[in-house]
């Protein structure tokens, strides 16, 4: 690691946002779609992954592909495909997020495997493969779209919470490991989103009872609100925000 001068630190590095390439690891769910649209509006080119296998619509500024990023070999192949067609990835946004309700006592191995694969192993192997490329180039941004349930228990989805707890530590570790090479790593903890009271319906916890009344901003969150925070986070000059967890929940967790 070479020493950086203060001048270098204050000058935005890399290409302008008009030509940056952002990879969205799950462009099929509501958050991935909203983030894709917000980044396209901000001038980013997009590489969009469809974990289901259905190929997303491509275009001049966007490449669609379908791979399982929880498998390292597929992640490596995707990295080569994207590099050949679009060039190197400047921004990695991990959006894979699936909630399978299951209790501690009933959680079987298959459920835990699926939840870990979807919610955290995709992030780990994407970080390894695309992070290595960012380190080689000496620049890059990684954002993990996670959940307030990396701290607050759900009372309904233990495997999901375990995966998000692990994802939070991946973000912190990646910040330590990749920060000196010019890569910035942060994590969004979203909560009180529209539909969360159904997604996390619990017989053990009253956290989602009367959800609407508990959110200090007075409304539930929408995916486009997560997307706009990410666009702001990626703006030039934000390089000192690193290894941070940014809660985007309308203040919901203040009650807990």
């Amino acid at each position: 690691m070479g020493q950086r001068s203060a001048v270098e630190l204050t000058v935005p590095r890399g290409k302008s946002s008009t030509s940056r390439l952002a990879l969205i690891t799950d462009a099929e769910n509501a958050w991935g779609q909203a983030i894709a649209e917000a980044l396209a509006t901000a001038g980013y080119r997009l590489a969009l992954n469809a974990p289901s296998g259905a190929m997303p619509a491509a275009g001049e500024q966007r490449l669609g592909f379908a791979c399982r990023l929880d498998r390292r070999a597929e992640a490596e192949a995707a990295c080569q495909t994207i590099a050949a067609q679009m060039g190197p990835v400047d921004v990695l946004i991990h959006t894979d997020n699936e909630v399978e309700p299951v209790s501690v006592m009933e959680c079987d191995e298959a459920t835990l495997d699926r939840q870990l694969a979807t919610n955290v192993k995709t992030a780990f192997f994407a970080t390894q493969v695309f992070g290595a490329e960012m380190v080689r180039r000496g620049q890059g941004r990684i954002v993990y779209v996670s959940s307030i349930h990396d701290e607050k228990p759900t009372g309904s989805a233990v495997a999901y919470a375990m995966a998000k707890g692990a994802l939070k530590m991946l973000s912190r570790e990646a910040a330590l490991a990749l920060g000196p090479s010019g890569v910035r790593v942060n994590l969004i903890e979203m909560g009180a989103m529209v539909g969360d009271d159904q997604r996390f319906r619990s017989s053990l916890s009253a956290i989602y009872h009367d959800l609407g009344a508990k959110v200090p901003v007075g409304t539930l969150g929408m995916p486009n609100e997560v997307a706009s925070v990410i666009v702001a986070l990626l703006t030039d000059g934000g390089e000192f925000v690193h290894g941070a967890e940014i809660r985007v929940d309308g203040g919901f967790l203040l009650h807990y």
Binding site: F124, G131, G155, G165
Partner: protein, 260 residues
Amino acid sequence: MESLQGAVALVTGAATGIGKGIAVTLAQCGVMVGINHLPGQEEGAKDTLERVRAAGSDGMVLEGDVRRRDEVLAMGETLRGQFGHVEIWVNNAAYQPNHRLLAYPADDVERVLDTNLKGYLWGIQAAARIMRDRGYGRIINISSVHGKRPAGFDPVYAMSKGGIKMLVREAAIELGRYGITVNTIEPGAVHVGGKGNPHLVDTPPPLTNPDDLARRRLTFPLGRPGLAKDIGYLVVMLARPESGFVNGAAIRADGGSMLL
């Protein structure tokens, strides 16, 4: 204070290191101990059993791989079959290969998550199945300061500890109704005499010159790293009947190191 005399505990990964120290400390308080170990660790497990008996208690050796749910459930039932009841379960067995993030081999990603995360879930399930019959139990999970603070030497180990944090919090609210508490201990650096050492280490590494202590205090405010028995004492505290209102907690045991 009520006595722990006659209680029965299962400690995973008790052939070596922190697990051995926990088993021996529990035995000193009259607890009978099931000593889990992996195949190949017979010498260390036998040594633990001898120390448990030397402390005036009794126990049994339980070979089994915590990654396998069926083996973990069977170990619990074997221990209950031997002593009639199990009210303390200590999830401790862990794997930490120390790879860097970008060079982490995929098979070790699986092994760390399987041992440290799945192993703890299977342990909680096995323990709770037994304990809920009597409406009482103490499940204690040995995690790490690296469930919060990134380690820099093993990212997947830290990820597994972040997962344990959430597993414990979820289990604490789910199992409370059965009179079972679920808590975490987060040790900092513990001096165990090297990975896989089958013997108990009861004293800190010696200081060889006067400057050593000052240097050591830059890492350890108390002038020494942790010992397995330090963690053992905390397990005993959480295992006591009087600790029944401590639930879903994570207690750091690092001598204040993380504050430096």
